[in-house]
Amino acid sequence: MSGLSPGFKRFHRSDDPRLPPGQFVADGFPVLSAGPTPVIDLQRWRFTVTDAHGDRRQWTWDEYQRLPQEDVRKDIHCVTRWSKFDTAWRGVSLDVLLHGADTDAGYAMVESVGGYTTNVPLADITGGKAWVVHEYDGRPLTAEHGGPARMLIPHLYFWKSAKWVSGVRLMEHDQQGFWEALGYHDYGDPWREQRYWGD
């Protein structure tokens, strides 16, 4: 046959159509991050939208909590190959947070406490595709999973769903975020297995 890995046999069979290529279903909820988990004081928490002209709109934690909240149930897919089905989140749609901002720019940089960034086309965080979430499974989001609030962009690999999110900066031209500059794919579509540069 291929002459590769003689005697290797499939162990786990998953024909679940919700599973993208090269993924397996995770039992737990693994964590992936580049450094220590930051401690974030809710009194000092801010979410900031900066448009391509540098104009800023900002919410405190209380103001963010008073925005219209949505419950969302989505499958999530990590580039490290685990997927998790039907994860339940609560938070605010990016459509709400971007409402009234000048959204002529085509790209967005998602920014987090600690300097982590990830880039996405603006079209991928508008139109009901992305949220800033603060609850997971009916409970406040824990710090190690990105609490008090993280981005949720479930149709892209999960590194795009930045933990400890602090804002979105709109950009005329695409720029690479943290992992994207370190070899990970610019867009990250799990259904096209866009894991790394060149995929």
Binding site: M1, S2, G3, L4, S5, P6, G7, F8, K9, R10, F11, H12, G22, G28, P30, V31, L32, S33, A34, G35, P36, T37, P38, T80, R81, G114, G115, E144, F178, W179, A181, L182, G183, Y196, W197, G198, D199
Partner: protein
């Protein structure tokens, strides 16, 4: 950078513990890698089914024997028991990499380095220790290695030799279940005092690399921050 899938021939496999194995693959067109990077390994069954897993590279490239990984077989695992026990020496798999550009150390860096390993998380940290030794690098290293008991110790000959050579790499062990006879520290979870006693102080401005299971990494990174280490100089890699 990531490139295509490359054929990799298993040229050697040797034990690290009763169950863990180190595998050495010859990969003729391997582009080289940095200490701390990982590799995707792809297995193909006769029916065409493929499975891919990521493994940390545990050593620098050595000529054509470019890719070395160390595998702890997971009970009922699809890939790890095959790699550790079944893949015949001389047979091929496919690899892709190197991957990851964050959890890396370069031999020309001179700052002190603090490595904190939980169990099999020692693998990429061993690659850093070996890269340092190979380059005769001046950066002083400390490794704090947390493991269940002495029988779980990976890379024992190399770690013992580096200690004995006294070239600036030192190792402290934290046994969580059963220490060796006569070991001064009782069994127990990694604590701030273990990192403080064995490692660098925040004033030394070390680069800290923490690798292991998620809960261990969370715990160890929080201890480092609590001791006053600069968050921006702590890099983490979590398994599972």
């Amino acid at each position: 950078m990531t490139g295509a899938w490359l054929r990799a021939r298993l040229v050697d496999r040797f034990p690290e513990t009763a169950s863990a194995r180190t595998l050495v693959f010859a990969v003729p067109s391997w582009p080289g890698h940095l200490a701390g990077q990982h590799v995707d390994v792809r297995l193909t069954a006769d029916d065409g089914y493929q499975a891919v897993r990521s493994y940390s590279l545990s050593a620098p490239a050595d000529g054509e024997s470019a890719v070395q990984i160390s595998v702890q077989p997971v009970p009922d695992g699809e890939v790890s028991p095959y790699l550790a026990e079944a893949l015949p020496v001389g047979a091929d798999v496919q690899v892709r990499g190197p991957l990851g550009g964050w959890f890396v150390w370069r031999p020309q860096w001179r700052d002190p380095v603090m490595l904190v390993a939980g169990g099999s998380g020692v693998a990429p940290l061993m690659a850093m220790l070996r890269a340092r030794e190979e380059a005769s690098g001046p950066a002083p290293f400390r490794l704090v290695y947390s493991l269940r008991d002495p029988a779980q110790r990976w890379f024992a000959p190399d770690l013992d030799r580096m200690e004995a050579d006294q070239t600036g790499a030192r190792v402290a062990y934290v046994y969580t279940r059963r220490p060796p006879e006569g070991f001064p520290r009782p069994a127990g979870r990694l604590g701030a005092s273990d990192l403080d006693a064995a490692g660098w102080r925040p004033g030394d401005r070390p680069w800290c690399y923490v690798c292991g299971p998620t809960a261990f990494v969370e715990h160890a990174a929080n201890l480092l921050v609590g001791l006053g280490h600069d968050q921006a100089r702590i890099r983490t890699e979590r398994f599972g």
